[in-house]
């Protein structure tokens, strides 16, 4: 009997007991459903985080932090710590570095006229900050090198601050007060989406690091908490990291053999660490779901055994009119494979539906995040193949049993 005919006969056999077929493949349906759903959710989580990290910082960003302690926790004596001018030096002297900015953190309350609002982040930076973060100005300009030198009382504000303090007017040219000190607003940043943690990006005020130091902190020093550096391209991250380390050691006069007084991390490391986590999660959840596929396979074997016994007489008749053992084997094997593959297809459909549903639910509960729907084609192909193989594997024993029947005995079976 040819393959098409065998498939038709198998479908007819399944169609005769739809309810039983449906219950039999439930395990497979659930298994495939779980694989598709879990893998898709894992992957879209991974992608979301990755794209967040990249949009948060621009692509090729490297962070440099002060690290005052050695491994054993003892305070280091060597090194001078990060200072604002390290950033300019990195941008000028390291060929693989595109731009670098110091970062000084603060937060507080801003007042303009009779309006006031909380500022999540007041950052002291330099003129290269926007380049590093791949951020654009929405209106106005940015402060200049001259402003940095003179620690001028100027700032650039995020959209939220603009909306809160200047709901009607153009904020550029106006001023706001922080700790009673007035700062002239020279520009407004383009608005940015909230990040994956739901943190708003637009509640921000940027000013020269020197201004933040002198006017708000009242320090003469130019120590900074960290530097944010961007490499010229993704493939030059390694070069840039090396150059940064070498230049900072030299500038901080760290003698050979002594540890760095800073730490360098880049986003690609973070992204790849995160990718590893999501890959591990995907594999882990995928294999848990795979176990339910195997359980589903056992269900198929069980029902196929029952079916072979029930259809003993049919097997005898088919043999009497000329079916070879291999024809019978193929008939039952194809039936088992059809069963599991149909279950797989149903599982794929449900998995896709649930992925959309769940994503929709997440996005409507956490409105700040726009979680993407990613249906993993790989997981569909793999789980269908796996479901088919489960049918093949667990269908083989019952099918073989059917093909080994003796036609006389089978014909006599009541």
């Amino acid at each position: 009997m040819d393959v098409l005919m065998t498939i038709r006969v198998a479908l007819q056999a399944l169609a005769r007991s739809k309810m039983r077929a449906a219950l039999t493949v439930l395990g497979i349906v659930i298994g495939v459903w779980a694989v598709i759903l879990l893998v898709s959710i894992c992957q879209s989580a991974g992608n979301k985080v990755k794209s967040e990290v990249l949009s948060l910082s621009g692509t090729n960003v490297i962070y440099v932090w002060n690290n005052w302690r050695s491994r054993d926790g003892e305070r280091k004596r060597s090194g001078t710590g990060l200072i604002a001018s390290d950033a300019e030096a990195l941008a000028e002297e390291c060929p693989a570095v595109l731009a670098a900015s110091p970062i000084v953190y603060h937060s507080g309350q801003a007042v303009a006229g009779d309006l006031n609002c909380h500022i999540d982040r007041i950052l002291g930076v330099n003129t290269q900050y926007l380049t590093v973060r791949n951020w654009q100005l929405g209106r106005g300009g940015f402060f200049t090198q001259g402003d940095i030198h003179s620690a001028a009382k100027v700032c650039v504000i995020g959209q939220t601050i603009a909306d809160n303090l200047f709901p009607a007017a153009d904020p550029v040219g106006q001023s706001l007060r922080i700790k009673g000190i007035p700062f002239e607003i020279v520009g407004v940043l383009e608005t940015r989406e909230a990040n994956i943690f739901g943190e708003e990006q637009d509640s921000i005020v940027l000013m020269p690091a020197s201004t933040l130091h002198k006017r708000l902190f009242g320090w003469p020093e130019e120590w900074v908490a960290s530097l944010m550096v961007s490499a010229r391209s993704a493939d030059r991250m390694e070069d840039a990291t090396g150059e940064i380390k070498a230049l900072l050691r030299e500038r901080h006069r760290i003698v050979r053999g002594m540890a760095d007084d800073f730490e360098v991390r880049n986003t690609s490391e973070f992204v790849s660490a995160f990718s590893t986590i999501t890959t591990v999660m995907t594999i882990l959840l995928g294999s848990i779901a795979g176990v339910s596929l195997i359980v589903g396979g056992i269900g198929i074997m069980n029902i196929m055994l029952v079916s072979v016994t029930e259809r003993t007489r049919e097997i005898g008749i088919r043999m009497a009119v000329g079916a070879r053992p291999r024809d019978i084997l193929r008939q039952f094997l194809v039936e088992a494979i059809m069963l599991s593959t149909l279950g797989g297809l149903l599982g794929v459909a449900l998995g896709i539906a649930f992925t959309f549903g769940l994503t929709y639910a997440i996005n409507s509960i956490y409105t700040f995040t726009k979680w993407p729907v990613i249906i993993s084609v790989n997981s569909i192909v793999i789980s269908l193949l796996f479901a088919g193989s489960v049918g093949l594997f667990f269908g083989f024993y019952p099918a073989r049993k059917a093909s080994k029947m003796d036609p006389i005995e089978a014909l006599r079976y009541e």
């Binding site: 008749i317 088919r318 043999m319 009497a320 009119v321 000329g322 070879r324 024809d327 036609p407 014909l411």
Partner: protein, 239 residues
């Protein structure tokens, strides 16, 4: 050489300690085109002999040459092929597949021979249904047919691959005498007009008398043979 040549065919069943000799050395020559009735008391081995001739069962010992080929030594696949191409079987209880239509039942042997496909297979099945007078019942399921009709579907199925032998094990056993007559008329016609070798098992004298040769079995051995030999051929009279 005879078309069917059985030599000292034995079939022994073992049930634990007990041995049952269903066939105790049957030797028999049957020619092409013969019409032969097997008779004998219940348990005498008629069905066992039929199943052996039909390549469904394999003798424990002895030799069975079908058209010159030794069946006893054949593989399962070779015997399946013989059942499919050369032999048509008709059973007392019809043995139709109940979940498919009459027409599909008739097509069944053709699915395994793959000589005819698609439309041509349907056409042949339809032609056979017409041959047995059931052209109006193509799409009926076996449960929707009378016993006589079911047996005629079974005969049409047996004829699907143009077999040279038609084996019928008590084909009228489940039919009333009128229907029985009709079915036997059909069988006789096939033997007469198409030269198909017919071997049938029956308890019914009347049915047996239609055949040109009668063989009686007892305890697995031939006790009488109306003796239609090679030389006399199919012209041999039935008495």
């Amino acid at each position: 050489m005879a078309f069917i040549q059985l030599q000292n065919v034995c079939k022994t069943y073992r049930r634990g300690e007990v041995e049952v000799r269903a066939l105790a050395g049957v030797s028999l020559d049957i020619e092409r085109g013969e019409y032969l009735a097997l008779m004998g008391p219940s348990g005498s081995g008629k069905s066992t002999l039929m199943n052996s001739i039909g390549c469904i069962d394999r003798p424990t010992s002895g030799s069975y040459l079908l058209d010159g080929a030794e069946v006893v030594k054949m593989s399962l696949d070779e015997r399946a092929r013989l059942r499919n191409r050369k032999i048509g079987f008709v059973f007392q209880n019809f043995n139709l597949l109940t979940r498919i239509s009459a027409l599909e039942n008739v097509e069944l042997p053709m699915l395994y021979s793959q000589r005819l496909r698609g439309r041509r297979r349907h056409e042949r099945a339809r032609m056979l249904m017409k041959r047995v007078g059931l052209e109006e019942r193509l799409d009926h399921y076996p449960s929707q047919l009378s016993g006589g009709e079911q047996q005629r579907v079974a005969i049409a199925r047996a004829l699907a691959n143009r077999p040279s032998i038609l084996l019928a094990d008590e084909p009228t056993g489940n039919l009333d005498s009128h229907t029985s007559q009709e079915v036997m008329e059909l069988v006789a016609q096939l033997n007469r007009e198409e030269g198909i070798t017919v071997i049938l098992v029956t308890h019914d004298r009347e049915v047996a008398e239609r055949a040109r040769r009668q063989i009686n079995l007892r305890d697995g051995a031939v006790v009488s043979d109306s003796g239609c030999t090679e030389k006399e051929g199919p012209t041999c009279s039935s008495k």
